[in-house]
């Protein structure tokens, strides 16, 4: 079951430039930053109330985020919903025939995560996350 909107992902050319606006001008505190090799990004989460903004800087020119930046420029990339049982959620999605990118949860900046295919929501890339502390 979906609990809340965990974050939206925004592709930026560089985290440093992104910080200048989202952290320094808007005043959103930086929660964490990490390199996620398998997604080809340096990523950061900034806090806005009980929601976060994720900035994504591509570091792998062959990766999906780099291709997104090249094709569409900086901007909104995905929306992530929080669940407390990502395995159950994925099982339900499979039963309902929803197109998935990830068949199994993997580790991302927001915890255990998986992506659904953007076709499933008419062009919106949806991520699910089960935070792990």
């Amino acid at each position: 079951m979906i609990k809340k909107v965990h974050h939206v992902g925004i592709v930026v050319r560089s985290l440093e430039e992104g910080y200048r606006f989202y952290r320094d001008t808007l005043g959103l505190p930086l929660h964490k930053e990490a390199t996620v090799q398998e997604q080809g990004v340096k990523a950061a989460l900034l806090t806005l109330g009980d929601f976060e903004i994720e900035l994504l800087e591509p570091i792998d020119p062959q990766g999906g985020v780099a291709r997104f930046l090249e094709r569409r420029g900086e901007g909104l990339h995905h929306i992530c919903f929080e669940t407390d049982d990502i395995e159950a959620e994925l099982g339900g999605l499979r039963e309902r025939g929803v197109e998935l990118i990830d068949q199994k949860p993997r580790h991302g900046l927001a915890g255990l995560i998986c992506f659904l295919h953007p076709k499933a929501h008419r062009g919106v890339l949806v991520e699910l996350a089960q935070p792990v502390e």
Binding site: I2, V5, F81
Partner: protein
């Protein structure tokens, strides 16, 4: 600057509202609050509550609507983030003081709201709407 309160909603531009609403409900269990209503401003809207915020599906009814122009360029997808503030005039003034391009505030699509738009150039390609609920 600590004037931003929380995410209010995310606008998703769609060409066919009923199909889109069915997919979000079928896949994720996010159900529209009310039957979709045509709004005075030339869009049909469906609000899907998701805990702390809602997803707002928006189908433009005229070809010259900004959402239609957006989809002509980029296709269906996420259009904007609406972030709630306590005092929209103060927030606009403070952001302008930091060199951010922000529109004057105006009545929002949702009743009882005022919004102001931060320019996409300032926000790294993201359409951010500041929103005050009155």
């Amino acid at each position: 600057m600590t004037l931003l309160k929380q995410l209010d909603h995310v606008v998703v531009a769609v060409r066919e509202l009923d199909e889109a609403a069915n997919a979000w409900e079928h896949n994720l269990g996010l159900k529209a609050e009310h039957a979709p209503q045509p709004a005075a401003s030339g869009v049909r809207l469906a609000s899907l509550p998701a805990g702390n915020a809602f997803v707002q599906l928006a189908q433009p009814l005229t070809a010259d609507h900004p959402l239609a122009a957006f989809m002509d360029e980029r296709g269906e997808g996420m259009f904007s983030l609406s972030i709630e503030v306590d005092d929209i005039e103060a927030t606009v003034a403070e952001l302008r003081g930091c060199g951010v391009q922000v529109s004057d505030s105006e009545a929002g699509m949702l009743e009882g709201t005022r919004i102001a738009r931060i320019s996409r150039q300032s926000a790294h390609g993201v359409e951010i709407h500041l929103l005050e609920r009155r």
